[in-house]
């Protein structure tokens, strides 16, 4: 897919008709749009999203979603039927050209702004016609689920690389690479209208016992779904709370009085997080050791008794046996001794040979005693080894626990210092931070508990299913209904496992792409990798034997990691057709990337790094940046981008309003050009100007 042109008509502060063409040449694929904060970058990003997806596409930070029509137009005296907000997007996809127009008349906005009108013209082989299902067509070209990966605000994108975003990463892979079909199918199979229906049929034809089991199973499954929804909500709340904490932290870091202590606290919190993770890992290792070899610790008396028995038997010359009982029995049976004497019944000679049976041994006993002796030795060795390892793990656990206590105490001291001594603003921020942290801990606790409850419920549900399966369905109808319920459940499980396998098989391919992109920007011996459980790890080589250790990621690194991940997905999506899959006919698709402020508050090094890869992130890249982000830090971004010779189109937004944000400059300076970008005016409006 390639974007050609965007036309806005009375969309938000874009009064009248405003238009921009996107860079579309392969070697000149970057469109830069300069705009100060508050001038309309977010509105422009949302114009594209609204065009494609309507009201539901608008980003969460886009205020006043119900007022799409320009306010001046809405308030003007022109006839109401002529007051219309419109976004027109021209693009091409798989050789076809499209003209999308989404409009919202004033009267419709007043009635229900969520219902806009969409038309989609398609030009194919020189013929132009209207698509009859435009929404469906748009969603087949850019599925709604991948939009947040293609159109995004760069400042918040670092969240993807955070530990807790593994689910989001897995979801992104599935959406971008066309696997959501499997997910939807499994969900549909488990839907009340499908599985529930067959269960009802089974209940109606089954015995009272099975009917009761089915009823319990349904209740349990409903409970699991409810718990999952509650966990999802807790995860969302956790994410937004963490964003709020980050904002408070950023304010504290910018406060001259608090920044030193805040910096120290952030380091301590990072160290604590690492220690908590290590403690978890050591505890898991210890649990595994106890589960596998823990029994050996209780074998001391058993081994001692075993050894005593073996020693006694040896001392009594019972083992190894000098004469085998099989040999004696053979002599008695043949009635003749090896000295040729006869051994008749009742004779003294026979009694003497028979007496030997009391001391003769068995070969099997010989072997068994040898094996026991050996096993006792190994058991002793294992016990010693286990004892040492348990001791080692416990020492590490105690050390980590002590470290965590020290971190907690020092963090608490910093909290006291910040809250007590450094002025009203810092105190308020500290108060807010403490409340947010309490809230975050509550959410984390809730997530853990709910996860445990879900696992317990799932185990109970599995047991119930086994019971139902084992119960005899006597009637023919019941048997058929049971087979259908089983088929639905088994097929849903099969699809789950296919989805897991397909997603997992993409990880090595993605990692290849991630490495390629990452190596372009990071010159240190760092390696970025997506782990099998969908978390990003950055490792660094230490020493010469290839050993690698995890590197704690800063916000800048996380932002780069997230961008690299999206770029890798975009490039893998392009090659989708070549990837072996269980799903037939997944075609490759090239997507553009539209980024609002991807440079955020980053340091010079990371800005340079991002600027260097921007042209290569996707076949077409559209970039919104303020003067500070683009030209700041001694041209970290501008030099890289200008030197890349990849900028194909360039625009700036002029802002007309009574005032503007204090950090925005009135002029945009590009080389020798000075462009007026702010104009004082009574009414707010933004215009798009080409440079």
């Amino acid at each position: 897919m390639k974007l050609h042109r965007l036309t806005l008509r009375n969309f938000r502060q874009f009064y009248g008709e405003q238009e921009l063409y996107f860079a579309e040449l392969d070697e000149r694929n970057v469109t830069v749009i300069h705009a100060e904060n508050g001038f309309g970058k977010t509105a422009l990003l949302n114009a594209l999203l609204w065009g494609f997806y309507g009201h539901e596409g608008l980003t969460s930070d886009f205020a006043g979603k119900d007022s799409i029509l320009n306010k001046s137009v809405a308030a003007s005296s022109i006839p109401e039927t002529e007051k219309v907000a419109e976004v027109e997007i021209r693009f091409e996809h798989e050789g076809h050209r499209y003209r999308l127009v989404r409009s919202l008349p004033y009267l419709q906005q007043k009635a229900d702004s969520r219902k806009s009108l969409l038309t989609l013209e398609v030009t194919r082989d020189g013929q132009t016609f209207n698509d009859r299902l435009p929404d469906q067509k748009i969603r087949s070209i850019i599925p709604r689920g991948i939009a947040p990966l293609l159109f995004f605000n760069g400042e918040g994108i670092d969240r993807l690389a955070m530990e807790e975003s593994a689910d989001q990463v897995r979801e992104a892979i599935r959406q971008m690479l066309g696997l959501s079909l499997l997910q939807a199918t499994a969900e549909d199979l488990r839907h009340q209208n499908v599985r529930g229906r067959f269960r009802t049929e089974l209940r109606e034809s089954a015995t009272a016992e099975i009917a009761e089991l089915l009823q319990r199973l349904e209740e349990l499954e409903a409970q699991i779904e409810k718990r999952k929804a509650s966990r999802e909500q807790a995860k969302k709340n956790l994410n937004s709370t963490e964003t709020e904490i980050e904002a408070v932290d950023a304010s504290l870091a910018n406060n001259r009085q608090a920044q030193e202590l805040q910096h120290k606290r952030q380091n301590l919190e990072a160290a604590k997080t690492k220690a908590v993770e290590d403690l978890g890992a050591v505890t898991r290792e210890l649990a595994k050791l106890i589960a596998e070899d823990g029994y050996s610790l209780f074998t001391e008396s058993l081994v001692t008794r075993g050894r005593a028995i073996v020693t006694r038997l040896r001392n009594e010359n019972r083992i190894p046996a000098r004469v085998l009982n099989v040999f004696i029995e053979d002599l008695l049976q043949s009635d003749r001794c090896i000295c040729k004497r006869c051994l008749p019944e009742g004779s003294e000679e026979r009694a003497a040979v028979q007496a030997l049976l009391t001391t003769a041994g068995d070969q099997n006993v010989n072997n068994a005693v040898g094996a026991i002796d050996n096993a006792l030795g190994r058991l002793e060795e294992l016990r010693e080894n286990t004892r040492e390892r348990v001791h080692e793990f416990n020492t590490r656990r105690l050390k980590l626990k002590a470290d965590i206590t020290v971190y907690d105490n020092t963090i608490a001291e910093i909290h006291q210092q910040l809250g007590n001594r450094l002025g009203e603003e810092v105190r308020e921020l500290e108060d807010k931070r403490r409340i947010l942290q309490d809230r975050r801990d509550d959410f984390i606790g809730k997530i853990h508990i709910t996860t445990q409850q879900i696992e317990d419920d799932q185990a109970s549900a599995e047991a119930l299913r086994a019971q139902i399966g084992a119960a005899q369905a006597t009637k023919e109808a019941a048997e058929l209904a049971r087979r259908r319920v089983n088929a639905v459940e088994d097929c849903a499980k099969l699809i789950d496992s296919l989805l897991e396998a397909e997603t997992e098989s993409l990880v090595p391919m993605l990692n290849q792409k991630i490495r390629e992109h990452f190596d372009r920007i990071i010159d240190r011996p760092h390696r970025a990798e997506l782990t099998p459980d969908f978390r990003f790890s950055i490792t660094q080589e230490i020493g010469t034997n290839g050993e690698r250790v995890d590197v704690n990621q800063s916000t800048g690194q996380r932002q780069i990691t997230s961008l690299v991940f999206i770029a890798s997905l975009v490039s893998l999506a392009q090659e989708r057709a070549k990837i072996p899959t269980i799903l037939r006919g997944l075609s490759g698709a090239a997507y553009p990337m539209v980024m609002d402020s991807p440079f955020g508050q980053l340091s010079t090094r990371f800005r340079k790094g991002i600027a260097e890869i921007v042209p290569f992130l996707a076949p077409q890249v559209i970039l919104f940046a303020s003067s500070e982000q683009y030209f700041g830090m001694t041209g970290a971004v501008s030099d890289q981008l200008e030197n890349s010779n990849r900028i194909g189109k360039r625009y700036y937004l002029t802002y007309h309003a009574p005032s503007h944000s204090p950090d925005a400059s009135d002029e945009l300076v590009i080389g020798n050009q000075r462009l007026q970008q702010y104009f004082q005016a009574d009414e707010e409006r933004t215009e798009i100007k080409e440079i």
């Binding site: 079909l181 549909d188 199979l189 259908r484 097929c491 396998a501 997992e504 269980i582 037939r584």
Partner: protein, 61 residues
Amino acid sequence: MSDPEPDTKNYTRSQQLFLAAPEEYQKLVRDILKEEREVMHLLRRPDIHQKIVHLVRRHIA
């Protein structure tokens, strides 16, 4: 779904999983996916559950 091929050693893990399932289920899943593909981009998909029920009845008879 991919058609089975005689040489299974080059199959991906998901293909192997699929082929290890009973043939009855393979056919059912193929047909359900075909229906799902038709409606995957629709905002509302009112008939899909009915279609799946119908397919289950047809295959498991």
